[in-house]
Subunit: 348 residues, 4 copies
């Protein structure tokens, strides 16, 4: 059994970790920390866990965390970089679901997140936890930077095309939309049901923090000498709880038939347990991955012109956060990668 | 391994059975029938099952079904009563999720469902699959009539009070509401998103088919000589997918303190794995049972007057249909009653 | 033209007042106050008003307000009772949408609202703004206490029965549900879309502030010597924005046929422009009154037993607040009662 | 008073026409036809119209229609082209909300709509009812082809850029999303609430019927000699009722600052009563136009690169269909263009 703790368990990625870790056969959950709610039973905050989890939130305690095999950080950015170094020194493995260690370019991180980075050496050491790209390094990693939700959906949608150099990398367009759980569990007026139900809008059109992570990830898989991937990324807020849908537009470099593109994707993801390339003509639905770690992808070439459209869906809290974190854990600890992640999506 | 087939797998109870049976460790799924869609891969209709279920829908074939240990009927009423008798003769066990065998009063069945009943002797033989009442008989049953969704939520909410004779049984009020999945997967105008989103309404206020099932169940648990339970039941349609919320009103027979009522419920359900009596002051939320087999119940006594209010929530497709069917299966086959039903609800 | 100001225009009843007052042909809107947002253009907070309203929020200024013919208070409770007395002295007419002047029993008000009442003499003087009961007094009133949303839907649903003494007034049950806009525009976690979409729950089951207002209103219409109306009232939160649905249960005193009850309602509301008694067999939908001042009512007598069910729907922000306030204004100023309120509901 | 009839009043554009025409001060509504529902009161189908509209659906009767000043067609494609010629001969003016007369290229029409066109000469004669482009011709037209919903949002978003030649017209990307009312009022399984709530997906990614209409409209406003506008258009289905959001991506031809682009839009639409260019940094919300004829537009230039993003929102049933039809009517009959369309959007 892997001894596990969660730092910062009061948000949506926290409760999603709990939903998946509680029935995981190889995990022993030992602590869930929250300064604000220390002492409060977890199941009081999240009634879905009544009868499943008897722990109470506790103050973060380095000694206790240091006794774990693995600590998940489900905290706002800035927290992990302060606490992880000590845990690393003491040999604990860490999966960070926040943005703290995702960017190699520390200056870029500091610009987008508006604060100094206090552990840049760990950012350099962290392995980016996208198993479809980094499975081997993940296995041996001590520190995983778990990818963001948009970056997961978007990278998985474009990787085969960029690896193959099939599209003009300098002019990529990512029009993506997320359920409201992606904005977190904080009581902000603009996230009220009465503000967002029966409503749709873009946000952060002038620039979103996930852009540098997306471009960093895409550039890593491009062949040397390629035009570096450059993405116009506009996120939108959906009147629903879970799910990310990315609609990706790219111009084909050469006259690749849709069928050839389809085969490119099918080959690339043939052995991936959590990427599903759907048949031509499909339109992946976010509900088809609700609560599951799956990413479903379909391709189109509208009106047979020179633009290829990739549609990629994930559950922002699952493959976009907590379930992907558990996939990383399974790889790190030599378990079956699918352990605890086998349930089909909740549909309807 | 239990060899299992599903008759009528194209509706929401069908896909919910599949979601839960596919990862069930003791089940081998052998066939899912549908006359209309025979030949079509199940995962084409329900993309959530891609990678989880490779079966195609098939024509119902008595020989094949007769080779199973257990057949689930997830069909409209009228179908099971035609096909079950032959399967019973050949020793197959059956769990019927339709209304065919729920009522002992065949005349009442025929009046409410508007057709003749062709297998009244099986209705007499069927065990009503509410484990909280009939666990022992379920274990030995060959034919289970799986309870309706409203009847499950409502009976579990009132049973402790009626067993104890604590309320005026002749004047019960059940105001209940269901998500739209309860109305099925048929393309009816009145079930469109554009008709029901941001909308709420009662339906069948003059009389709903679940009424006789509710009253039959409640009367069974009353002490002899009691005023037979009589219920005013009004169902409502919620602008959401899953969940039933029953708000139950009853007048107290004597001056029972809320605390005494609370203890009555806690005692009654102390050993029930799927009934959760929440602390006083709680308001159970349908999302706290989304996708799970749990029923959560809370009590109130508004303004300390003589009316007790019971709030009872279930997932209409889970404890209200398919997960309860699997709970029955687990009991029938001597398995751990919770097997395959351990995952917490999907929240948020 | 009536010179009008709104005190407290940043909530949902504020923006709904603006939506309806802006095109009202007899209204000149002069000021909308907000301490917190003074200086901010109203249309910046509510983009729906761009091109319709050029005012900015301003600090409340007694001189300015005193120059108006009419001031609406769309403030939290406690505010109007502090500011209204001075305006009254200066001859301004006031329509208060808050709870400050709704209850005659000041002790009850102080108990339910948890604070002292500073203007009890005005509560005694205020006219309860339910035109279907108090039209004549409204016409001459200087101060209107505009009814709460639940109280409006529930009183209109029961008034004909209680006036006629047709039901057992001591055992009334009101199971009601509201869209999330009823909870206001404050950034509370429990009102997030991610917490409430695809979810349903009761709240305040042990006692809700609208109960004394409901009982006060019902008792006023009962014949002398009747058992005073006593209501068990449980409100619920709907996963949608607008709409209240009240399902009202009462036991018939005598064997009144459904048709006789129907006629009772039709007679009672024959001349009411904003109460629609639907034909027997109807189930009023909240969307059928979305954005309109209409209350729609239908009756049922389930299974022909001795309980009558009244279903009553309103838009909580319209007939339940701002549109009803304008109906009151029209009456107070001798205008056509329907002026500015003629648009049909927004359906779909 | 303009004598008006509606052919095909049972769909969502029909009921939206009724909502807006009923209180219109210059309109006398004389007939609403429906073969299927002839004889049924309109308010029985649409309870929002109870008390507002006493008409019943009637069989289409050429004599009756020929007695009108104006006939709206709110019919599926193929119907208007059969019935309009006779009405035209008899001098009736027609506003067709269907696709029948939108395309000048009849071969393209026949290819996209899969049937022969029976009145191509009328298509040539019809005026495309986008007032922001064709106001003068609309005033004198006998036959208006009312624009589609996506084409309205998309054209209004790009027209200033294409008129100015500011972007690469050959590589336009339109990622757009519509509420479910855009798919009509037919009982199709894929439009059920239980299928679409909490779900998001693209559709018709390989090619949608609105593409040729969009490209035709854009090319008309381009300067001669320009590269003809070529659009990659992917529509998506939103889990909500009303609203279209178009996110438009185009590469700048030259280094135009965002401020210059902003001024371009503000100048272009300065006199347009129903196009609102929002300030830089805005993100238009669909709810800000719910039920109104407004189109709201905002611009962004993500990360200051060479792609300009235009966000354009309308209500698909209002500016995208019925309200725009009434705007056309107002222009045709010399009325104030805003008559009957002054109400602000319904928010929240």
């Amino acid at each position: 059994m892997i001894k596990v703790a969660i730092v910062g368990g009061t948000g949506y990625t926290g409760v999603e970790l709990l939903r998946l870790l509680v029935p995981h056969p190889e995990v022993e959950l030992t602590a869930i920390t929250s300064r604000a709610l220390a002492g409060k039973p977890v199941a009081e905050l999240f009634p879905s866990l009544r009868g499943h989890c008897n722990l109470a939130f506790c103050e973060p305690d380095t000694e206790q965390l240091a006794g774990c095999d693995l600590v998940f950080f489900a905290t706002p950015h800035g927290v992990a970089q302060a606490q992880v170094p000590e845990l690393m020194r003491r040999g604990v493995r860490v999966i960070d679901l926040s943005a703290d260690f995702r960017l190699q370019d520390i200056a870029a991180w500091e610009r987008w997140y508006g604060q100094s980075h206090t552990a840049p050496e760990l950012a350099a050491q962290a392995v980016y936890g996208l198993p479809e790209v980094n499975r081997d390094q993940i296995a041996g990693a001590q520190l995983i930077a778990c990818p963001g939700c948009y970056p997961t959906a978007i990278q998985l949608g474009w990787i085969p095309l960029l690896e193959a150099g099939a599209v003009e990398a300098g002019q990529l367009i990512a029009s993506a939309a997320s359920g409201a759980s992606g904005a977190g569990r904080q009581g902000k007026t603009e996230l009220l049901l009465a503000e967002n139900s029966d409503n749709f809008r873009a946000y952060a059109a002038a620039g979103h923090r996930h852009l540098p992570e997306i471009e960093q990830g895409l550039r890593r898989v491009q062949a040397e000498g390629s035009t570096p991937a450059s993405v116009t990324f506009v996120p939108h807020l959906l009147p629903m709880i879970r799910g990310i849908h990315a609609t990706l537009y790219a111009r084909l470099q050469s006259d690749l038939e849709l069928q050839a593109l389809q085969e490119l994707f099918e080959r690339r993801y043939a052995d991936e347990p959590f990427v599903d390339v759907m048949p031509p003509g499909s339109h992946p639905q976010t509900r088809s991955v609700r609560g599951s770690n799956m990413c479903r992808i379909a391709l189109a070439r509208p009106d047979n012109r020179d633009t290829v459209v990739v549609m990629s869906v994930i559950d922002n809290l699952a493959k976009g956060a907590s379930a992907q974190a558990i996939q990383n854990m399974n790889i790190m600890f030599g378990l079956n990668e699918k352990l605890g992640l086998e349930s089909p999506a909740l549909l309807p």
